[in-house]
């Protein structure tokens, strides 16, 4: 049974004159690492908000169609109920940390749902270890770097043991090194815990090496859906997403008439492909 199934999902924010998301049909299997991308305003954040109930509970509007997460129909479910199925990590690390110590912050969600103390402590320990922040447990969030803050946010979400994690542009405010590190952490968690991961990102150069599937949205609908090497073609460029530079390079070489094979999406793939070309 798939982790996420959307059938004809549409949403119009209250007071808006057109839909932010229209007729989205999509199925994501357990354990997949999916990157969701698209130009600003394409509906990717809107889709994510449906997954944990922020739409329609926090953001009012007209929600049509069907959506099931973890085999649970989201209809009528509150965000609190869905929080144990779907974890959500936001863009700004500052505004999703609530306590003055990392440890208490990671425990926050567990405390909210009434987890008994012993169990909560165990899970907090585990979540902090999984995200590599055990040594930061007594620090206050404002003492941490952006990358460390995002790890703490991920740990806080992880502690609730959701089967799906949604991350909305978590690297926006991070420097390039921290961005690479946090995406590596996310990928590791996806691999080791079989945690279904939906990562919304513009920085495709950072995430392409981990994603086995990229979904491109445009103007409220799904435009492209497939493995990165298939997706990063002319259509993607026309929609206006920022493809990795190596992919762009090969596009130019292909236009120049060279027999470029598949689309490389990472530096390693590009290196391989160039060597192949040069040896012929």
């Amino acid at each position: 049974m798939p982790a996420i199934v959307a059938t004809d999902l549409s949403f119009t924010y209250a007071g808006a004159d057109k839909a932010s998301m229209e007729s989205v049909n999509l199925s994501i299997e357990k354990g997949e690492f999916v990157v969701l991308t698209g130009p600003s305003g394409c509906g990717k954040t809107t889709f994510c908000r449906c997954l944990n109930g922020l739409i329609p509970n926090f953001y009012a509007g007209d929600l049509q169609g069907k959506l099931k997460v973890d085999d649970v129909d989201i209809k009528g479910k509150s965000t609190a109920e869905l929080a144990t199925h779907v974890g959500f990590v936001f863009q700004n690390p500052e505004n999703q940390l609530f306590s003055l110590s990392v440890e208490r912050d990671v425990a926050f969600g567990l405390e909210n749902v009434g987890t008994p103390r012993k169990e909560a402590l165990k899970r907090v320990e585990w979540a902090m270890e999984a995200t590599g922040i055990l040594n930061l447990r007594n620090k206050a969030p404002y003492e941490l770097s952006g990358g460390q803050q995002q790890r703490a946010a991920i740990a806080g979400v992880l502690a609730m043991r959701p089967s799906i994690i949604v991350l909305d542009e978590p690297t926006s405010f991070l420097d390039p090194k921290s961005a690479e590190e946090i995406v590596a952490v996310i990928a590791t968690l996806n691999q080791e815990l079989k945690l279904t991961t939906l990562l919304v990102e513009h920085r495709l150069d950072v995430v392409s090496k981990y994603a086995n599937r990229v979904i491109v949205m445009d103007r409220g609908q799904i435009a492209l859906d497939g493995p990165p090497s298939e997706i990063y073609g002319d259509n993607a460029r026309l929609i206006g997403i920022g493809l990795p530079k190596v992919t762009m390079l090969f596009h130019l070489l292909r236009r120049d008439g060279f027999p470029v094979g598949k689309n490389p999406t990472t530096v390693d793939q590009a290196t391989e492909e160039l060597r192949r070309l040069l040896n012929e």
């Binding site: 926090f58 929080a83 440890e103 969600g109 749902v113 009434g114 907090v124 806080g156 609730m160």
Partner: protein, 258 residues
């Protein structure tokens, strides 16, 4: 006039016997100072109440910041003195009222400097204050330094567009704060919305039986502080009712204006 005044109420994590005290004990101590300040009108007594706080400040290693917050309160302190004198109070009594202000401000500043917002929240929770109220309170305290930074950024951004806050008559100066207040308020609102989203996503309010991984436990030192405060208060009450205190006389009077 800057945000230095606020700094006197900002918590800074340090390892000191005062920081390690249970927040409830510290609060009782603060209330003790507060009550004594309100009770006495005699200047010597009020000075004692003020000076009695100094050992605590020394133990908490917060002398520098405490002094700065006192300096921040100087304006108000002088204002209280002047206003009292203008309205006919004797110089000595006016001094006493100023002293009272400093004693109270110092007590609360000291409390907030040595108690983290989290601990405050825990104390409130364990006192059976509804969680949403306790959380609102701690979040507000936690956000003060963040909002102060935001405020500074807004001031910087608008000054960079030629806004001069120190020029013009009173009306102009007030109007000049509109470009500061509006972005601040909007930023605060945006921040609250983001926070609320994140709270919802962590199941805030899911159940009325919220658990907590940390619990506050009173230790010997805390009990000692509470007992000490109560007995000192008892002594203070005795002194107030039964002991005549020396008075200070300054043979000078401002010409009565009213």
């Amino acid at each position: 006039m800057s945000l230095r005044f606020v700094e006197g109420f900002k918590f800074k994590r340090m390892d000191s016997p005062i920081h390690r005290l249970d927040p409830r004990a510290k609060f009782i101590l603060t209330l003790g100072f507060f009550a004594s300040s309100l009770m006495f009108t005699n200047i010597y007594a009020l000075m004692i109440v003020f000076v009695a706080q100094v050992p605590g400040v020394l133990m908490a290693k917060t002398v520098g910041r405490w002094l700065r917050s006192m300096r921040g309160g100087l304006f108000l302190g002088v204002f209280i003195f002047v206003m009292n004198v203008i309205f006919g109070t004797s110089i000595v009594s006016s001094l006493a009222f100023s002293m009272r202000f400093f004693a109270i401000m110092s007590a609360f500043s000291f409390f907030f400097m040595t108690t983290s917002a989290d601990d405050l929240g825990l104390a409130l929770e364990q006192a059976h204050v509804p969680y949403s109220i306790a959380f609102t309170f701690t979040t507000a305290v936690r956000l003060v330094p963040t909002m102060a930074i935001d405020a500074q950024t807004v001031v910087d951004a608008q000054r960079s567009r030629g806004l001069e806050l120190d020029k013009g008559n009173l009306m102009k100066r007030i109007k000049n704060y509109i470009p500061i207040l509006i972005p601040l308020i909007i930023s605060a609102i945006r921040r609250s919305v983001e926070l609320a989203e994140a709270l919802e996503s962590r199941a805030f309010g899911a159940t009325d039986n919220r658990t907590s991984i940390t619990t506050l436990k009173m230790k010997a030192a805390d009990i000692a502080v509470i007992v000490g405060t109560i007995s000192s208060l008892a002594v203070a009450v005795y002194v107030y009712f039964y002991l005549p205190l020396p008075t200070l006389v300054i043979p000078f009077e401002f010409p009565r204006l009213f």
